[in-house]
Amino acid sequence: MGPDVSSPALWLAIVAMGLITYGLRLSMIILFGRVAMPDVLRRALRFVPPAVLAAIVLPELLIADGTFALPPSNARIVAGVVAAAVAWWTRNVFLTIGIGMAVLWILQLVLKS
């Protein structure tokens, strides 16, 4: 299913995404001295990247076409695990992408033949 790109709602959503992001960037600069950031929020912020990233990555790897998929039919999970190891040791995003894609392509070639 592709996106409903004809819909004006998608344009509005993109504008609203811009406004939300801008609002977050501007907030404390404008409100300085009038509003203190709640302590709970300050503590929560540290966990936003690991939580959000894991919530996106795991389903991307484990679920294909709406159902759980395991190897060998699912080459993505193997490529993902290799990529995670590369990311862990090198901390280099571009190397992670490069090696992950290479593993995916090799597995797809092997599985097809």
């Binding site: 811009g18 992001t21 936003v48 919530a55």
Partner: protein, 242 residues
């Protein structure tokens, strides 16, 4: 406070951001390719870079749009993933207090991760002559990064139309996030946050409207905070006991 020192700060900001573009431009390129691969029209793909100007949330938005997620989910995830900008905003605010409102509005728009890092370091270790002209440095770095994000997006959009779907380039989305996730797992609390969020996301996958993603992120953040507090208490007890 002279035009000359303003110009010098502007140039210093541009020079400081140039090496960082090597890391930023490929992301813009991949974003453009992905956006076209998802079927986003050229104008929308570029408009998102122009208006949102935040790499990770643009990647995610493209992924969500591709699976037909409705707009409230798009907005909630954008807010969650960009929450860190609240922290940047709070940390820059005291330094920016003397600036006129127009400066604040323009600089806030340009404050992506890299620009924040440069600006805050400059404010904390100002050049000789004080922090009076640092906003020019901030502006130089911000505009340069913004321009490079726009042009790399445009190149990616152009290339994206030529890449066949069989290459599976949409997988670069997951790989990019894996590359960002692993270095974020710095301690037990962050690992607990990631593990909880990942498991909940898979279990809640079938929830309508991509609500599983929001639920998973919230559970992960809560788990991280709980583990952090549990270890802080245990450490306190150990300190008292010894």
């Amino acid at each position: 406070m002279t035009p000359r020192s303003a110009g010098r700060e502007l140039r210093a900001g541009i020079t400081a951001v140039l090496p960082l573009l090597i890391g930023v431009a490929p992301f813009g390129l991949i974003y453009g390719v992905l956006a076209r691969g998802t079927g986003l029209p050229v104008a929308m793909a570029q408009a998102m870079s122009l208006l949102v100007f935040a790499g990770a949330s643009q990647f995610l938005a493209v992924g969500l749009i591709g699976t037909g997620a409705p707009w409230p989910i798009l907005l909630v995830t954008t807010a969650i993933i960009n929450l860190r900008h609240l922290l940047y905003s709070a940390s820059l605010a005291p330094h920016m207090r003397p600036l006129r409102p127009l400066w604040k509005w323009v600089l806030a728009f340009l404050t992506v991760d890299e620009v924040y890092a440069l600006a805050i370091s400059r404010y904390q270790r100002p050049p000789t002559g004080g922090t009076g002209e640092v906003h020019w440095y901030y502006l130089g770095a911000g505009i340069t990064l913004w321009a490079s994000w726009q042009s790399s997006t445009a190149v990616g959009i152009y290339l994206g139309a030529k890449v066949p779907a069989a290459w599976g380039l949409d997988f670069t989305l997951a790989l990019t996030f894996i590359g960002l996730l692993m270095p974020a797992l710095t301690d037990r609390a962050t690992r607990a946050a990631a593990a909880t969020a990942g498991v909940v996301a898979v279990l809640a996958w079938s929830l309508p409207l991509k609500l599983g993603l929001v639920l998973a992120a919230a559970s992960g953040i809560a788990a991280g905070m709980l583990v952090e507090r549990a270890f802080a208490r245990a450490a306190q007890r150990a300190a008292r006991g010894s």
